[in-house]
Amino acid sequence: MKKEIIISGFGGQGGLAIGKNLAEAGMAEGLNVTWAPSYGPEMRGGTANCSVVLSDKPVGSPVFARFTELIALNEPSLSKFEEGVLPGGSVFVNSDVVTDRVSRSDLTAYYIPCAKIAEEVGNPKVGNMVMLGAYVAATKILKPETIEAMIQSMFAGPKAKFIPLNIEAFRRGMACVQ
């Protein structure tokens, strides 16, 4: 089993954080993981992306030209990376921001209204958790309990009040693809 994932969006949209959450959760489940960011001027408002590998074998290359999944948080990300997805792969589209559709027929497309659901849950910042939920539910590569435990430890101490919010966002994301 090996997942190679590109998560891409505007700087500040949280794509790098989604990648980090996937890597953390993968590590917690005993997988071999890497997280490699694009870095540079695009951090300041352009399109930023990261490459994540989740694998049951040691990870060789942490970067790749073809990948199993794409999480596209903005339109330039979809147009730039769609062709790199391996046949049979999946694309997760942040459909509140991206109006384009996935054009290839050999891919499974999921349209997740992250911002809308985040608003409904009560905090626009938890859109990332919605997307994470969708990814976890669709790929079944990670256990939902692992993510929820990770959320518990992420918001330890005074930030504990954010736990229910994030867990709800995560579950709503999962529900989008179930």
Binding site: V33, W35, A36
Partner: protein, 356 residues
């Protein structure tokens, strides 16, 4: 041991603190700025000293001062900044001072790019500054090795009274990977009775210098250094061989390209192609004998050297070791573009076709 997810540059800094680094002197440059950032926040809490210097030149000379006074000192930078440090590195080597220098390489020449590259191989392994000297160069290819090597680098430096460089690239500095903080073996180290740290009752004064103005004296000093480098070559050379036992074609690569090669090997082996990887871990001393021995094996038909450098820098050392016994093909990408798994596979296949 529990695994923790660490970003390469922050792990470098934490590893240094755990290795007893007394002081860090640095200057911001992408893609290594997380090292001084982490040090500024954490080293003083551990009882150490952090100074953001006015330049890389000043930073390496602060290292010279602290190291000369007996401290475990470190600095880090990326390629253009490491060029500026060369003055200090040759003085460290000449004055026989231990220090750890991190180069998180980016593309050049000149300002180049902030993306990963390996164009500083010559600079790192051939001295880089003026005069006859060597620095041990450790080249990790993942974050775990990086933290292990940073910790060990301090011991190597102290053992030989010589600067040690940990040469990684921007990707290793920027990426996150699970690591374990397992104990790194400590070496038995000689006392720093040479340090200029104040006499405090000592019956003589200690002098740290790299000047030996009389030709005979300077010649003797060079002989002494050369003998020391021979010791390092004997004791410190390291490499890794992956699936080389039956390999018909061997990829030579270090750092990030070496781990990209591991992915290429999986595909090649799955297709029945007997490919292997020879990975130098110390770039100086270069594992010349081991590579030479491998080149002499009948089953090895050809080599493919892969670097993030277009001119082929390690390629020179590979050629020197292979001594024309087998053909060598080269794949180089620079300027922040990394060689891909697919390119490696294609070149391996075409190289094999040529020799079969």
């Amino acid at each position: 041991m529990e695994k923790e997810l660490w970003k390469g540059n922050e792990a470098i800094a934490e590893a240094a603190i755990r290795a007893g680094c007394d002081c860090f002197f640095g200057y911001p440059i992408t893609p290594q700025s997380e090292v001084p950032e982490y040090m500024s926040a954490h080293l003083p809490k551990a009882g150490g000293v952090f100074v953001q210097s006015e330049s890389e030149l000043a930073a390496i000379n602060m290292v010279y001062g602290a190291a000369g006074a007996g401290m475990r000192a470190m600095t880090s930078s990326s390629s253009p900044g490491v060029s500026l440090k060369q003055e200090g590195i040759t003085y460290l080597a000449g004055a026989e001072l231990p220090a750890v220098i991190i180069n998180c390489m980016r593309g050049g020449p000149g300002l180049g790019t902030i993306q990963p590259a390996q164009g500083d191989y010559y600079q790192a392994t051939r001295g880089g500054g003026n005069g006859d000297y060597r620095t041990v160069v450790l080249a990790p290819s993942n974050v775990q090795e990086t933290v292990d090597f940073v910790q060990e680098a301090f011991d190597i430096a102290d053992q030989y009274r010589n600067p040690v460089m940990v040469l990684c690239d921007g990707l290793i500095g920027q990426m996150m990977e699970p690591i374990e903080w397992h104990p790194v073996k400590k070496r038995a180290l000689p006392p720093k009775d040479w340090a200029a740290c104040g006499r405090k009752g000592r019956d003589h004064h200690n002098i740290i210098t790299s000047i030996f103005i009389a030709a005979e004296e300077c010649s003797d000093h060079n002989d002494h250094l050369t003998a020391k480098y021979a010791e390092m070559e004997k004791n410190e050379v390291r490499w890794e061989e992956v699936q080389c036992e039956d390999a018909e074609i061997v990829i030579t690569a270090y750092g990030t390209p070496a781990r990209i090669a591991l992915t290429a090997l999986d595909t090649l082996r799955a297709e029945g192609i007997k490919a292997g990887l020879f990975r130098p871990i110390t770039l100086w001393p270069f594992p010349e004998k081991a590579l030479h021995t491998l080149a002499e094996q009948d089953h090895v038909k050809a080599f493919v050297d892969v670097e993030m450098s277009t001119t082929g820098q390690m390629l020179d050392d590979v050629r020197l070791a292979v001594e024309g016994r087998k053909p060598i093909r080269y794949l180089g990408r620079a300027g922040g573009v990394m060689p891909t798994v697919e390119e490696m596979i294609d070149l391996v296949k075409s190289a094999l076709k040529e020799v079969k």
